[in-house]
Symmetry: C2
Subunit: 352 residues, 2 copies
């Protein structure tokens, strides 16, 4: 059977990558996870206009042709949904029950938002940038929105400058399911910041507190000895996943085997990866098979010759160049997000 996206919700479309799609450097668009909050909006690319306004010298209104005429760049970037791995939490976390496949990597082609901001002339008071999609609807959980809202998210100005406004994915036209005709792609950030069906950019002189950064896509953080505060999710946590062998695989005892997968993070780059074949009792450093690049997952492998027959619990944990290591157990203050504890892959070692 050919690999295919796994539906987690039919409408709006929420689709997960099969784990085997996560083993290469690039995920094909047809196997890249899809996260939608509201029905996919119908946008005629010929009539599409991106509006940029707010705290700028001059607002912009740009068609797709206007955008394509700008100096474009292509960046290979990994996007992970902030709820990836939610099904593996030991508590009952509301939301879509993603397993491992709400992560993927693509080549995104577009114009850095900084180019547009420079063209519009950002005011000295500017501090944040709102990205607003054309998709809209009413939210009931976890807190009712009390009416129809668009999907929208804000970023501090430096991160916003670094965002790519993309109209191509892996060298082809950006599919509507992935946010076409135009979406933001924010390097190193959880996916919710990469606003799909982008139609409005608003430069603000203050932080913005929208639905998808306060009641949703936020976590609790304790700072300076104070009770927990609500903070919007930002950079991806360091995390590694095993792609091969697959759960339930049978490996012959004594035969050389290879354990491999990917690791990624939003701050720094993956620097170290360790694998355990005995459920966490002992750890072995694995090798990187690709280079470290910010915002891009890095592939790793460990050669192993299983010696003892029976079930084996494989685990992987990564450490970033900033010294952050995956936590042993999930943190309840993160709720249903930033799920980065190692999840075992159970296989069987058998007599040949």
């Amino acid at each position: 059977m050919a690999a295919a996206l796994i539906p987690r919700q039919a409408e709006p479309p929420n689709l997960e990558s099969p784990v085997e799609a996560l083993g290469g450097l690039l995920t094909p668009p047809g196997l890249h996870f899809v996260r939608s909050h509201f029905p996919v909006p119908s946008i005629d690319p010929r009539r599409f206009t991106l509006r940029l306004g707010g705290c700028v010298s001059q607002g912009l209104a740009l068609t797709l042709d206007d955008l394509r005429a700008l100096p474009s760049v292509t960046r290979r970037l990994t996007l992970e949904c902030a709820g990836n791995g939610r099904a593996h939490l030991p508590w009952d976390a509301a939301g879509l029950q993603w397993e491992e496949g709400a992560v993927g990597t693509a080549d995104w082609t577009g114009v850095p938002l900084g180019v547009l901001l420079d063209r519009a002339g950002v005011g000295v008071a500017a501090s944040h940038v709102l990205l607003q999609g054309a998709d809209r609807g009413e939210m009931e959980e976890p807190v009712p929105s009390g009416g129809v809202i668009p999907f929208a998210r804000s970023l501090p100005l430096p991160e916003a400058r670094n965002a790519l406004l993309a109209w191509e994915m892996n060298g082809g036209t950006l599919p509507a399911l992935h946010g076409g005709p135009l979406r933001a792609v924010v390097p190193g950030c959880y996916g919710m910041a990469s606003v799909k069906w982008l139609e409005r950019v608003e430069v603000l002189d203050r932080p913005w507190q929208g639905y998808f950064e306060t009641v949703d896509y936020a976590r609790w953080e304790e700072r300076e000895g104070l009770p927990p505060e609500r903070v919007p999710l930002g950079p991806m946590r360091i995390k590694a996943q095993i792609v091969r062998p697959a759960p339930g695989a049978v490996l012959p005892v004594g035969e050389p085997a290879r354990i491999e997968g990917a690791a990624w993070c939003g701050t720094g780059t993956p620097a170290r990866v360790e694998v355990s074949t005995d459920g966490g009792a002992t750890w072995h450093e694995a090798d990187w098979t690709t280079a470290a690049e910010p915002g891009l997952w890095r592939l790793w492998a460990l050669d192993w010759a299983p010696l003892r027959p029976g079930p084996a619990r494989l685990l992987v944990r990564a450490t970033s160049s900033e010294g952050e290591t995956q936590p042993e157990i999930p943190d309840p203050r993160r709720g249903g997000y930033e799920i980065s504890h190692p999840v075992p892959v159970v296989i069987t070692v058998a007599e040949p």
Copy 2:
């Protein structure tokens, strides 16, 4: 049967005033509504210490005797729970189903927080003040807190200066149910800001985003043409309630009757009150029977001689000195809070 508090939740204690308790200028402590988020903490008043720290020249640690030795003031203030009237919403709002009685007025005696802040020496960077209670627990709805948290709320510095730290209620020792030995009372604000069992005051150089001002005790507000933002609840909305006649009362046709009640608001004072005896078709201006004072409810009355036998729908609506009038219908962006639309009291006019 003597009037008594109406339980909305047994543990922690959440008790509502009977409507007849709302007709005077003062509510007796035994009939004043009680709002608790966590179990009532057991505090020995002889060992109690209030700690004040953060962005100040010198932290303070004050016993109740230290506080009582300061120049105290007594203020008559109205407190309304932000969810008062939730049972009357036309949508299903989560939370305690308060009817009309989560509002009351008392004489609060204590020291203005501004006195303590001046003594501690507030830093020039200070902008907000965190008030933290001794009560704590874990929240599951609307968003899990991911662990035990204290009840805590912050205020902008000017509002915080105006808060009273009270140890007496109506001239007697503050009962534990009402936050004794020490609670904050914030004039004009919904009750959640009047932190009970106050044990910590922390001066901050930035806004603070705690549980009870982000996911809870907040609403959606649309500003500057942007999508809705989450804002913490603050001043009480203008609102009037009918105390007499009670729902279901029978009034003799042609006999003089009196409709009376209270009105209050957090910004300005109640300036105008109108009554309808025909379900909102026509309105008559009622008279104030007490003076306007900031933060205190104002009593009103309208003399009426019912002419037509049958059921009558009585309504009241007030307007503040700032020109704010009660909305005809509830606003979904307020969720389960700030419920201030007129709710009819249905009575019967009968042949004598």
